[in-house]
Amino acid sequence: MNDRPDADGIDDRHRPGVEEFVTAWATALHRAHYVPITAEQRHRIVSALAERLVTAVLTDPVRPGDGQRIGTDLVAAGFGSPEALGGTIAVIGARLPAALGVAADPTRATRLNGLLADLAAGFASAAHDRSLREQDAVRLAALDARTQAEEALRVSEARFRRFATHDQLTGLPNLTRFTEELGRLCSAAVPVDRVGVCCLDVDDFAAVNDVLGHRVGDLLLREIAHRLAALTDPRIGLVARLDSDRFAILVRGTTCAEDAIKIADRALATLAAPFRVNGTEVPLTASAGVAEGAVADDGATLMRDSEIALHWAKADGKGTLRRFDQDRSAADAARYRLSAAMPAALHRGEFTAAYQPIAALRSGRLAGVEALARWRHPQLGLLTAARFIDLAEHTGLVVALGRHLLEQACRQASRWQRIQPGLYVSVNVSVRQLRRNGLAGEVAQILDRTGLPPHLLQLEVTEQAVIDLTGVVTESLAALMALGVRIVIDDFGIGYANLANLRSLPLHGLKLDASLTRPAAQPVRQPGARRPGTDDDFLRTVVSLGHRLGLVVTAEGIETAQQAHRLAATGCDNGQGWHFGRPVPPDEITASIVAQRDRDPVSRDTALPAFPAQQR
């Protein structure tokens, strides 16, 4: 600033008082406003500004803008507060007129006034501009901060979404993601007509975890995931881990179920190769269920169907795949509904007994009856045991149901004693009943309550029931025998007849299965082979086996008079089947007893029951 060609002012700038003015101004500014500079730096800045101011006062005419620029530069140096302006005006007013001899020179006084006014204006304008700039800056910063926070939120949401839609162990998509994708495919917006879902489950994986530990289990799951993810097929839309050892493959653009089955097959094949974990070979198998359908189907339905099919694959022996089938599913559902309705039905008394005649083959007369369970279902009508006994066996309801039927049968048989003394009733006993403690006690109570003599109650047990003679079964049978109740083997000849067990059991008789009493298919003849026995040879042998063991033999499934004659010829004691009568309500048995008595009054009292009253 001291390069200005201003001869007049050169001497005056160094007048006494100017230096004091600079010091006073710097002090005033420092007091008014903090600028992070040293005192020396501050003095240098103020000194330069003072020099320009002094020069301007001494220069005629004042160059336009000089005063304003001093004000602007004051703000630029950091002294932009109102206090800094106030301090500046005060110091200039107090010190400069005397230092520059303004009193002696009215033009200087005028110039100083004008400069002061310009300086204040320049200062205010610069401070205003500075405020506006800072406001812009902070707004921009806030805007950017918001944008960055939103971006960070998006990134974190994306990470959270990955966390929520992927399995952490295997990195595969999880159930959430699978369901979402299936739903998307099943929405009309996607041009795919049909989709398939293959649900896979490792067989007996719990055993792997139990025996080898969870760490090995986790390694296996990763390897399984890796193999499934490595399956390449343009139709594979997604491979997911649903939970624990359950995986799923989404197949898109299928034309038929076979397309999805092929992929499930490949998945099972890739898992069939043994796994190696820590140098140990771990063979695994997996089961699969496949459901395939049009996208119009609900995705959740496809998912459920594939899981149902997976259950079938497991139930049918594992290591295989099953395709969902509406008929099987409907049958399953019906069975389930039936099974679920049974306890209440038993409570309401919907279970009753039907009775099928058992005749003495020599005389053709009624010797006894077999009580057969019937369900008077309010919607489905009268159901035979074949429809529900397995369900009852499965749920365990068979125990209560068996007790209920036994009581009904004994009460009915007891009534019949009045019109046909010695008529016995034969009741089926299930494996479950036999394996429970206390069966003999229950039977004893029922006999007590109903008044039926023990020897007129015959309990039928299957070969299966006595194949495993555990303590409870043997004890039950022995206790029942001690009661005087008769025990026969039902369906003899088709199960796993354990002759060793038969030998040691307190049996009273055998019931030959209907398949033995029907004519066999023509035997295959081989040249030079021994002539196979005829049907009659078989029957005679079995009957004589029974008789040799002191057992009463009853043949089931006799449908014709010819069969009845043939069996009578073999020496078989009793017969049962449609030829002698179908299972009927007790009234009809009563009616036929009465009719038989009327037809043949002489033999009324001598009618022999098939079972001698005092046998063995």
Binding site: T38, G78, A137, V138, A142, A145, A149, S156
Partner: protein, 268 residues
């Protein structure tokens, strides 16, 4: 309390920010009306709050110059706030153009503004981090890029430690920070107290509860404890104007009214 690590910082412009209020007290315009409203309320409680803020700011600069004199050429300024004229890197780079500065603040607006100001400035950076996560600050890639932790660092904790309540263990946090630094590193701390003006500063402290960083005032003994393990340089923990003033005239008649204890410690 703890945000999940992926949760972004909150930008809530409806709450006053201490960083922007501080800018207002120093005469700046980097603030919004909500900040100024809070700043004026605080000034109603403590009429000379602008001087208090200024004295604290002056201490920062004297501490930085002191550290520069000690040969420190890299700085970690935690709680750097809104950048105004005379930022640490400006002062440091006057002495050494290669001086490095890492600014850290919890206020996202302060950090983005700093980032704008530092655009084209290769040796200074601003990070959005929290004093309560020392390792996150120290392990941050930008910190690692700019600072050589095998050489002395100037750790600046100016007007920030009082934002850490006792249950976040400020003593432990500070120690975790400086133990990661090389011997010869310096730690500057300035801290609000109600020792000298219990009523006025107590009210100011209470008002800070409205902001995102409420203040916990501490006693001189507590502030001295913040330096535990470090060698306090002369004159120890003192009122802010009394720490190595440029001249006796700068101190003023009542340094205790500035209500900040300050000090600088050196790592052995």
């Amino acid at each position: 309390m703890e945000r999940p690590e992926w949760a972004p910082a909150d930008v809530d412009l409806s709450r006053p920010s201490v960083a922007r209020a501080y800018d207002y007290w120093l005469g700046g315009s980097h603030n919004f009306e909500v900040d100024r409203e809070f700043a004026r309320q605080a000034m109603a409680a403590v009429p000379d709050l602008r001087l208090v803020a200024r004295a604290n700011r002056e201490f920062l600069h004297r501490a930085v110059r002191f550290m520069l004199d000690q040969g420190v050429r890299q700085f970690l300024d935690i709680g750097s706030g809104i950048p105004t004229v005379g930022n640490v890197h400006e002062i440091a780079q006057q002495v050494d153009p290669d001086a490095r500065v890492v600014y850290v603040d919890i206020d996202p607006v302060a950090v983005t503004h700093s980032t704008h100001i530092l655009a084209g400035q290769p040796n200074a950076v601003a990070l959005l981090e929290d004093l309560r996560h020392p390792e996150a600050i120290l392990e941050h890639p930008e910190t690692r890029r700019l600072l050589d932790l095998d050489r002395p660092v100037g750790l600046l904790l100016v007007s920030v430690v009082h934002a850490v309540p006792d249950h976040d263990d400020p003593y432990g946090l500070i120690k975790r920070l400086w133990t990661a630094l090389a011997p010869g590193s310096c730690v500057a701390i300035s801290h609000v107290t109600t020792d000298s003006r219990p009523d006025e500063m107590g009210e100011g402290t209470r008002l800070s509860g409205r902001t995102n960083t409420p203040v916990t005032a501490r006693t001189r003994a507590q502030v001295e404890d913040l330096f535990a393990g470090l060698d306090l340089v002369e004159p120890g923990v003192v009122w802010s104007p009394l720490w190595r003033p440029e001249s006796p005239a700068e101190v003023g008649d009542h340094p205790e009214r500035m209500s900040f204890y300050v000090g600088v410690g050196r790592r052995r």
